[in-house]
Symmetry: C2
Subunit: 224 residues, 2 copies
């Protein structure tokens, strides 16, 4: 690949991020939400592509770029995806009892019905890109790279006014099969994208009484 094929996507000098940017970046982190309540308005496909291109610049182990972006567009296919979700969710519900089960059943756990964009993100652990560097003792880092890509896309989406919901209530193998993907691929996250109906600074699960955030102090440890 010659230099002429790849125009620099950013100024050649290291950027300096100022206090105003940092404050806005912190605001972005605080206001990113897992969104399950979407308007049905379409999202410009060019914007979705731009977010995938941005996500493609995420960190990856050995520079392996192991994420695979699968846009699920067919109406019949989406129906099958929703059926898979309902099946997995009924199974998850069966693990709870009493009041907790009643609360779980009331939670809205996905925007699969309304979200105009369905983006399934898989990882290909069989990729030769990166030649295995960094994966010898921690093979799970290949999936972690796909998580970083999802997180980049999520933050970018929020900056453009879009919401993202990460649905993990799926049997990953069933999804690989349903979407007719190579058996070696593994589902990392099934994302719903669209314009949110509501915006909140508090997590949906906190607002609806499932789980509040807890004190950071309990999560920091110092080893002398």
């Amino acid at each position: 690949m010659s230099a002429a094929d790849t125009p620099p996507p950013s100024p050649p000098l290291p950027p300096v991020f100022d206090a105003e940017f940092r404050a806005s970046f912190e605001t972005l982190i605080l206001w990113r939400r897992d969104v399950r309540r979407f308007r049905r308005d379409a999202v410009d496909p060019a914007l979705v592509h731009r977010l995938m291109a941005l996500a493609d610049r995420s960190p990856s182990v050995g520079n392996s770029q192991p994420w695979r972006f699968v846009l699920v567009e067919g109406a019949a296919l989406r129906d099958q995806v929703r059926a898979e979700f309902r099946r997995a969710n009924a199974e998850a519900l069966a693990a709870y009892h009493g009041e907790q089960a009643a609360l779980y059943a009331q939670l809205k756990l996905s925007g699969l019905e309304e979200a105009p964009v369905h983006l399934a993100v898989f990882v290909d652990p069989s990729t030769e890109q990166g030649a295995g560097l960094g994966r010898h003792t921690m093979p799970e880092t290949i999936g972690y790279s796909a998580v970083a890509a999802i997180h980049t896309l999520w933050l970018g989406a929020r900056a453009w006014g879009l919401g993202v919901g990460w649905v993990s209530i799926f049997d990953p193998k069933a999804l690989t099969h349903l979407l007719d993907l190579p058996a070696s691929w593994h589902l990392v996250g099934y994302l719903c994208l669209g314009y949110p109906e509501e915006e909140h600074i508090d997590p949906e699960l906190e607002r609806h009484g499932w789980q509040a955030r807890t004190d950071l102090k309990t999560r920091i440890f110092v080893k002398p």
Copy 2:
């Protein structure tokens, strides 16, 4: 916890991110690097804490916040960590042959010697926070949450002019034992933090001939 205990950390109205912020955010993503070449200058502990507090607002499955931040400060302990890295890295090197082995041996794969801050991020899969929501079919999402926290911290660090290097060339169980942490915790990433010696828009592994980035088109799939 009463409302009085938790002053709103951000304006109560949903923020609007403008084109200038979005452009800077894209620049941040493009210039985030895995840094292995650090200056030895100290980093203000308050800044490290601020970055951990920001990372603590990352998405987590079931709002479980399962990340555990372990600051490794003792000089003797750091020596043992570096010895573990050398052991794991020698093992990794043994998996390569010929020219690839020679190239691997020349790569600088960590800043463990120079970085002023060592931050090991673990996940506690045994946490009861979140009551298992979202983890029934994809238990790996608990580790994914810790990855999102690392990625938030990484981006925040870059915005403040700091570099982060994620070292995955460790036997996770050996690190849990060495740092005297609960056996159920799992290492997600051992992070080196500090001011970078150099800044680049291209990944270190690309610049040194190990692995270039490849074309995004090969990673996008559409399912009708």
